[in-house]
């Protein structure tokens, strides 16, 4: 279990004070994987490094397991090497002067473990990441993906309280990245380690996490399960940052429980507001995912437009539909006509259009 409370970190520059982290609080339950997701400069990596102890926060408390590691009010700051955490770095940080085995075994050196036991634990960790056959290789001779596995083995071999991942897959090529994230997820479930994962890649976050925390400008914008955060984002930033979305601005005309009527320049629509925040008369936007905009479907909301531009993407046709001055991005069946100018009738279900307060 990791608990972060009101974490702050600010830097003094010549002209002003920059708040890299501005009052961040969250909790990671035992055995769960929580992802900090956000654009670069949002404070996610700094938050992770504060948990690791590599960065000294300006204020706040951090508890790992049953040990308070940071309490800036009391001046408590446990140095990183006494926190018993495992960390995987973006640059792999594999020591080039050691073999694969030595890289992993190094993590056991500080503990009072008999040599034979240390060897056994190291080999077990290497087996977990399927690198047992490469134990005696010099570490720099490995490929990027293999180096990343060594980094993971090194992080888990000492049975840490928690695992921290700092954009671990961003240096891998696209295909390997997809493979590795599946494997990482499987591994994390298998060993059941409490983990914090930092990434700017929303697809990676959706695939790998139990919970996603979206950050922006040093603050937490939103948190939720991946499905929930994708289907029912609670603000425009999240809706746009995670996945692709279409935004239609309008004004609330009626509210009936979660169902909200919205008047827009392109017609009156019904949307959904799970948070029950909006009131009649509020300025809002409707957020509709491209896959929920169905050509010729029978959803309750209907729109007429013309095909502006389309590309064939294998599994689907990605199309841009012009409805007046509004451009909508949607996914159509792979047999859909692709001639520009063709009239297209779109529809979407009421619970696929999320009503969000305008920012």
């Amino acid at each position: 279990m990791i608990r972060v409370e009101n974490l702050r970190k600010s830097f003094e520059t010549k002209s002003e004070t920059v708040h890299a982290i501005d009052g961040v609080s969250f909790e990671v339950a035992a055995g769960e994987m929580v992802t900090l997701l956000g654009p670069s400069g949002c404070g996610k990596t700094t938050t992770l490094r504060c948990v690791a102890g590599l960065e000294r926060p300006t204020g706040g408390r951090i508890v790992v397991g049953d040990q308070a590691v940071v309490n800036m009010d009391k001046g408590l700051f446990v140095p990183p090497h006494l926190r018993n955490l495992g960390m995987v770095f973006q640059s792999y940080a594999i020591w080039p002067h050691m073999t694969v085995f030595e890289n992993v075994a190094y993590a056991l050196e500080g503990r009072k473990i008999a040599k034979a036991d240390a060897k056994k634990l190291t080999m077990e960790a290497l087996e977990t990441v399927q690198l047992a056959g490469h134990a005696d290789r010099p570490a720099p001779r490995l490929s990027g993906g293999q180096q990343q596995r060594v980094a993971i083995a090194r992080a888990i071999v000492g049975k840490p309280q928690a695992l921290l991942f700092d954009e671990p897959l961003s240096n891998l090529d696209a295909k390997l990245r997809v493979e590795m994230r599946t494997e990482l997820r499987r591994l994390q479930k298998q060993i059941g380690l409490t983990s914090i994962y930092v990434t700017h890649d929303q697809a990676e976050a959706l695939a790998i996490s139990d919970w996603i925390i979206v950050m922006k400008d040093g603050k937490i914008v939103e948190r939720g399960r991946p499905t929930q955060i994708y289907r029912y984002p609670e603000n425009v930033f999240t809706a746009q940052f995670i996945g692709t979305t279409n935004l239609i601005p309008g004004t609330v005309t009626s509210v009936d429980g979660e169902q909200v009527g919205v008047e827009t320049a392109h017609g009156a629509f019904v949307g959904i507001d799970k948070t029950k925040r909006v009131r009649a008369g509020d300025k809002v936007v409707l957020s509709i995912r491209p896959e929920d905009l169905i050509a010729g479907g029978n959803g309750s909301n209907k729109l007429e437009g013309r095909l502006d531009f389309a590309i064939f993407a294998g599994a689907a046709v990605e199309a841009e539909i012009a409805c007046g001055d509004l451009k909508l991005f949607c996914l159509m069946g792979r047999d859909a006509p692709m001639t520009p100018g063709v009239p297209v009738n779109l529809s979407f279900a009421g619970d696929a259009a999320v009503v969000l307060p305008r920012e």
Binding site: P80, N84, F89, S91, W95, R154
Partner: protein
């Protein structure tokens, strides 16, 4: 229209065959320039090497018809090896180099660590002052330390006498005195070498160690130190090579200390009449062989260290060690060292330059101060102004010519596939193995033989400087040339632009940072150079450093100091001006 055909892309049955075919099938200006470059390099680099080697196997002197005959002898070597003097010089060279290297490394490593890796206050300022020292000519640094710690006249010894009643606590004319002065002189170079290594190190390698539960000490011992070892080893070797050929300290202090090294032996042997050519050449060969051996070792070490480069993504975030309260200690120590390195020579010179006769600091001394020395300097242009003008011309001229030549070489080596380009690279770089004093002797002897009337002109010094500074300039320019993606040139080629336009309008502008760095470096070093200039000095082509040496020989410390201050001001002006021009045209700072 210009046809653009890939050169050198032919099937090669053998290396030589391929080269020959590629050379005979096409004829364009690119090859003409290449041939010119190769010939120039052979003349500038191979001829001096050959001159020394040839002379060392001859008993006849240059000018004697027998000198050009093909009968060689080992007589010079037999004679040199039989002299205890030769072995003393060998031992002194090695011992002096070894001790200076270790001391300079220790001080430089501390400064580089404090400035680059910790939160020591004033780190940036300390770094700038340290690098700024590079522009002070070495001979002035040596002289200022002699004025500080020599027996009888040294300020420290006066203080010792006044405070403790002990006579001559320090004697700079000793092995350790020489080691101290030369080490202090090499610290800025050490700092530059190690700072680059520290900046290139990925801090997450150390952080990963910390995360596994290792404390600061174990991380240092098991991770930081082994990782820094190749860079440290390379720096140590480079310092050692630099010290072997160092000249100022042995020249000014070695005589009274009774410590003669190769460099001074060669200098005194060649400047004495009648010159013992054979012995001089033999010493020069010994020195060159030593330097080549170390260089071979150095290059093997660097190649090995490439294995230590790890794949990394975005740039490293600067991570500095928080020293807590200790940071004031490191700051104080660093400031003290910078004071010794940069402050002492300058203040010493400034002080002495106002005195009519040399006096240790006292009320009487300060009362006697005047601008008389400066007035004397300006009264006779041959004394100060002409040498200063000579140095300025040499600095600007050498820097410009060297950078242009080196840019052309780097272009061929890295951006074309013309056969023979590897030879170009090797030729341009190999002169690094020629110690300055050997280079000076080789140029002198060669032009005594060849009927070209350039002895006693600035041209001969400039030619020698071209050979001396080419390898260094090549390093700056090559590293920025490599960074320019070939696609940029290919794009221009596809657009039908001829190669020379490519070079002028694509490469030169993109290379500007590397070119300017090289230009700066050569300009400053050529300005302050002493060894080659002294070997080739006649009355008409004295440079500023040479004049300082002659003033020293005459015992005119006061005029010499005034001259030193003037040089210092002039160099600062030159560097500031060039820096301003560089900035104006969009070149980022190198350090």
């Amino acid at each position: 229209m210009t046809t653009v055909e890939p050169t050198g892309g032919y099937a090669k049955p053998s290396r030589l065959g391929g080269v020959l075919r590629a050379w005979t099938t096409g004829w364009d200006w690119r090859r003409v320039v290449l041939v010119a470059l190769v010939l120039m390099l052979v003349y500038q680099v191979i001829v001096p090497f050959g001159m020394i080697a040839w002379t060392s196997f001859k008993t006849a002197r240059p000018g004697d018809p027998a000198f050009l005959s093909l009968d060689f002898t080992l007589a010079n070597y037999v004679r040199a090896f039989a002299q205890p003097r030769f072995w003393a010089a060998t031992w002194n060279t090695l011992a002096f180099s070894f001790a200076s290297t270790i001391l300079a490394f220790a001080i430089g490593a501390f400064l580089a660590w404090a400035i680059e890796r910790t939160n020591t206050p004033l780190a940036r300022l300390i770094g700038i002052l340290l690098i700024g020292r590079i522009i002070i000519p070495g001979i002035l640094i040596t002289i200022s330390w002699i004025l500080i710690a020599s027996p009888n006249i040294g300020i420290l010894n006066h203080l010792g006498l006044a405070l403790f009643g002990v006579r001559n606590i320090f004697n700079v004319y000793s092995f350790w005195g020489m080691v101290w002065v030369h080490s202090i002189e090499m610290v800025p170079l050490t700092y530059l070498l190690l700072a680059a290594a520290f900046q290139a190190m990925d801090p997450s390698l150390e952080e990963a160690s910390t995360m596994t539960g290792a404390g600061i000490w174990r991380t240092f011992r098991r991770i930081s130190m082994p990782l820094a070892l190749p860079a440290a080893g390379a720096a140590l070797l480079l310092l050692f090579i630099t010290t072997i050929e160092t000249f100022e300290v042995p020249l000014l202090m070695g005589g009274r200390a009774g410590i003669r090294v190769y460099a001074t032996e060669i200098f005194f042997n060649t400047s004495r009449t009648p010159t013992d050519w054979g012995i001089s050449a033999t010493y020069a060969m010994a020195m060159t062989v030593m330097s080549i051996a170390l260089l071979v070792f150095y290059f093997r070490l660097i190649r090995h260290s490439e294995r230590y480069q790890t794949v990394t993504g975005k740039g490293y975030r600067p991570r500095r060690i928080d020293l807590g309260r200790w940071k004031w200690l490191t700051c104080g120590l660093a400031l003290f060292l910078v004071f010794l390195i940069t402050g002492v020579p300058f203040l010493m010179m400034l002080y002495v330059s106002f005195l009519p006769v040399y006096l240790p600091p006292s009320i009487r001394a300060f009362e006697s101060m005047s601008l008389e020395n400066y007035r004397t300097l300006f009264s006779d242009p041959a004394e100060a102004l002409i040498p200063m003008w000579n140095s300025t011309l040499l600095g600007l001229g050498t820097a410009t010519v060297t950078v242009l030549v080196v840019a052309a070489i780097a272009y061929y080596v890295h951006k074309t596939k013309v056969p023979g380009r590897k030879a170009l690279d090797f030729l341009a770089f190999s002169s690094i193995a020629l110690p300055s004093v050997v280079l000076g002797a080789a140029f002198l002897w060669f032009y005594l033989l060849v009927p070209l009337p350039i002895i006693g002109t600035l041209t001969i010094i400039g030619l020698a400087y071209l050979t001396k500074y080419m390898p260094f300039a090549l390093r700056f320019v090559s590293s920025s040339m490599v960074q320019i993606h070939s696609e940029l040139e290919e794009a221009a080629q596809v657009a039908g632009v001829p190669w020379w336009k490519n070079f002028l309008f694509i490469f030169l502008p993109l290379l500007k940072p590397g070119l300017l760095a090289a230009w700066f470096w050569v300009m400053v070093h050529a300005y302050r150079e002493l060894t080659v200039a002294l070997m080739l000095a006649r009355s008409q082509n004295r440079t500023a450093s040479v004049v300082i040496y002659y003033l020293w020989e005459n015992g005119s410390f006061m005029q010499l100091s005034a001259f030193g201050v003037l040089i210092f001001i002039l160099l600062i002006a030159l560097v500031t001006l060039s820096h301003w021009i560089g900035k104006r045209y969009g070149v980022k700072e190198q350090y």
